[in-house]
Symmetry: C2
Subunit: 452 residues, 2 copies
């Protein structure tokens, strides 16, 4: 593999964590996309390149860098926690989203940290809490980059099913009860929940379940606090539903919940900025960790983010994105209705926001990277993310293999219909050539309940 190394050189002695860390599965897919430029890719979770805020960022950087004192701040080191003015702006922004003062859930700018994308927050929170063998609870399926991070930290990721109202919080409660009976409650560190337009399913946690989830973690916080890590990366990409109050907003004392949001999806990934509201004692630890990682995120990017929120161009841009992505979502759902074979075993989610549709196929169809459908799709020039990457194995080690994720972020509107047509043709061919009896994959997928 590393052909340049002379044979005499001894190997590296890696840390236990490095040995646990695996390549993100998406990397192999990117390789496939690069190899075929005609490929229509519903795989990568990139944003739409045609609606990136170039003009806004041009105007803003001119304003910042032509103003000498401000340029000096933008180009100097900052603090580990992030620019105070940006943290204050973020609090106002979240107040607008929630429609309630931040003080009503005990949040001030001191409780906000700015990170290198919200991914860095996910990492820092997990690294501050998780030792090998500790337990994190997530939906099944779940965001595979973060479950990979958790595994590299040695966490056991235990899962609960998803249904049309998002993560089944009654199942969280039952799982915690079982863990308590087994004496494993002390190992449970947090519940990870993508509360708005989930990646990969597109599902949103219902309002009632949000409140319930806070009640549940409070109730099971006996000798230590069990937290909820609420990933709201897609919150603002909302197309035809009212905004819901966050899980965080039900945590009046800011003790049990972490809310992380980002500038990547609703503005520009190139700034690589996320922000997070968290309890003060956790903030204390996370700041120490971030001090060791990088002692602060780019001040220039933070100044740009501050200015776009201040001058109103942020909210205007979010509106532009909503219109654009709504029409792409509609095109994707229309193409699925038009081209997919009519069968009760072929169903998909209809997201009210975000960038993802989750497709469930007959249990006989194997969507995995090594399976026949993936290869057929590659041959026909269409790419998806195999659902297997998003599932945790059940107690017998089984992973459903009849689902896939479609992202309508980067693909053009014009590509959507032909892309889905190619996918549907490959699906039909597989349905014609495979047997129909339910495979073991079927049961697990029905339990996970992704709705059509």
């Amino acid at each position: 593999m590393f052909g340049n190394r002379p044979p005499a050189s001894p190997p590296l002695a890696l840390s236990a964590k490095a040995r646990r860390t695996q390549e993100a599965p998406i990397s192999a897919l990117i390789g496939a996309a690069v190899a075929n430029p005609d490929l229509i890719s519903f795989a990568a979770g990139l944003v739409d390149p045609t609606v990136l805020p170039a003009e806004q960022c041009l105007a803003i950087t001119q304003r910042i860098l032509a103003d000498r004192p401000r340029a000096q701040t933008a180009l100097q080191y900052g603090t580990t926690q992030g620019l105070k003015a940006l943290r204050q702006q973020v609090v106002s922004h979240v107040e607008q989203l929630e429609g309630r003062p931040a003080s009503s859930y005990s949040i001030s700018a001191d409780d906000v940290i700015v990170t290198t994308g919200s991914q860095q927050t996910l990492y820092l929170v997990a690294d501050s809490l998780v030792d090998p063998g500790d337990i994190v609870i997530a939906g099944n399926p779940s965001y595979f980059v973060f479950t990979g991070t958790l595994q590299s930290l040695g966490a056991q990721v235990l899962t609960v099913p998803m249904d049309g109202d998002g993560m089944e919080v009654d199942a969280v409660e039952r799982l915690l009860e079982r863990l308590e009976e087994r004496g494993s409650l002390p190992r449970v560190k947090f519940i990870y929940c993508t509360s708005y337009f989930d990646n990969p399913t597109g599902l949103t946690l219902s309002l009632g379940r949000r409140q319930r989830l806070v009640e549940i973690v409070k109730r099971f916080s006996r000798a230590h606090r069990i937290l909820v890590l609420e990933d709201a990366a897609y919150r603002e990409l909302r197309y035809d539903s009212p905004d819901l109050a966050s899980i965080k907003s039900f945590d009046a004392t800011n003790q049990y919940t972490i809310l992380t949001q980002t500038f990547s999806k609703p503005f520009a990934p190139g700034l690589k900025l996320g922000y997070t509201l968290m309890p003060p004692d956790l903030m204390h630890c996370v700041l120490h960790q971030k001090g060791n990682h990088d002692f602060g995120t780019s001040n220039l990017c933070q100044e740009i983010a501050l200015e776009t929120m201040r001058d109103g161009s942020y909210c205007k841009h979010v509106e532009v994105l909503r219109v654009r992505y709504r029409s792409k979502r509609d095109a994707l759902l229309a193409a699925l209705r038009r081209h997919m074979p009519p069968s009760p075993q072929v169903r998909w989610t209809e997201p009210r926001g975000g960038l993802y549709v989750w497709l469930t196929l007959p249990p006989s169809i194997d969507t995995s990277r090594q399976g026949p459908l993936f290869k057929q799709c590659l041959d026909r020039g269409v790419l998806y993310v195999p659902g297997e990457y998003c599932f945790q194995p059940d107690e017998s080690g089984h992973i459903p293999r009849n689902c896939l994720r479609l992202c309508f972020g980067q693909v053009t509107t014009e590509q959507i219909q032909p892309g889905i047509q190619r996918l549907a043709e490959a699906v039909k061919q597989q349905m014609d050539t495979t047997a129909s009896p339910a495979s073991p994959g079927c049961r697990a997928q029905r339990e996970s309940g992704a709705v059509a």
Copy 2:
């Protein structure tokens, strides 16, 4: 401490790593600086705000963001490893610094990673290699942010003395021999060395020692490879000495050494960009870790860095910084000569580059945060970094307390003379009031050999 938390809430259950992670000592100093705006601070390692490249960044961001395809790249997600064009540019830049083709030490753009400052590289490399109990060898004194990181990972940081030629590599060899005798060689992961104008001492590793260090790690790489982590953050801030070949350049096969450099010191910390050349098998692991941390550093910042290297403004700016910092260094050394009490026990380094002067005082003087000199200096309105933060304890737990670090980065030229006068007056007062016999701190400091 967290007054808002109702007493009923149970505590967080932190990871072992979070429990090992301590607040960076510099944070307390920043608090002191904020409390007194008249303070002249030689403490913070910030760069000079008056020579930040605002005009260059203004011109460059205009060029990037007005060019639609380029703006789309700058504002989109990138790759975990970083922009290929920037990595290629970095290889050319390092070739110019070394005066040799990168191929002569087996480096191509594939061996370069772009990170959130070089600090992130230090973290990622350490996290990929170090388990609790593993050994890292560093100079004494050493860069305290990174030794803090190493301790949070559970590393034992063993040290060797410094002299006028930098880290004593003969002492590295002897230490490795002793570790081998004890059977501890398998735990040695890497040697950390700030090879140019060291933080905190200002010392530079001599050319002969660079080559020797590579030979030593090769020789002691028995069952696993021992690496050299070369931190060259200050390399380009060179005032009156020829550039030296890096340690990396003596590693012809790119197997034993990691070279990390930054845009923060020679250009602008606000971009928060560093770049690192490393062996391919280590790159493989580090990329997986960075994938979990943030899956890539800001593309906008990377595009700016690429453009400033391409259009020549980077090299021009480095020249401006050299002139500026050279004159500040000269002012600092002149003020020390003028104001410090003439005594063989009062001596300081005369750095040929970088941002730091290391001052050694009579052993009877305690420079520590809680000691009388620090308080006197605060009262007189001058701030330094206590040397104690930079030392690792010896086998009896002893840390020298008669040294301090002076940074001439952020302070203005006009502040240097009065600032050093205040410091010298405090030192004289302490010398008058303390006894002269050598304290145990003296011997350790003489062994660590920071030269006058």
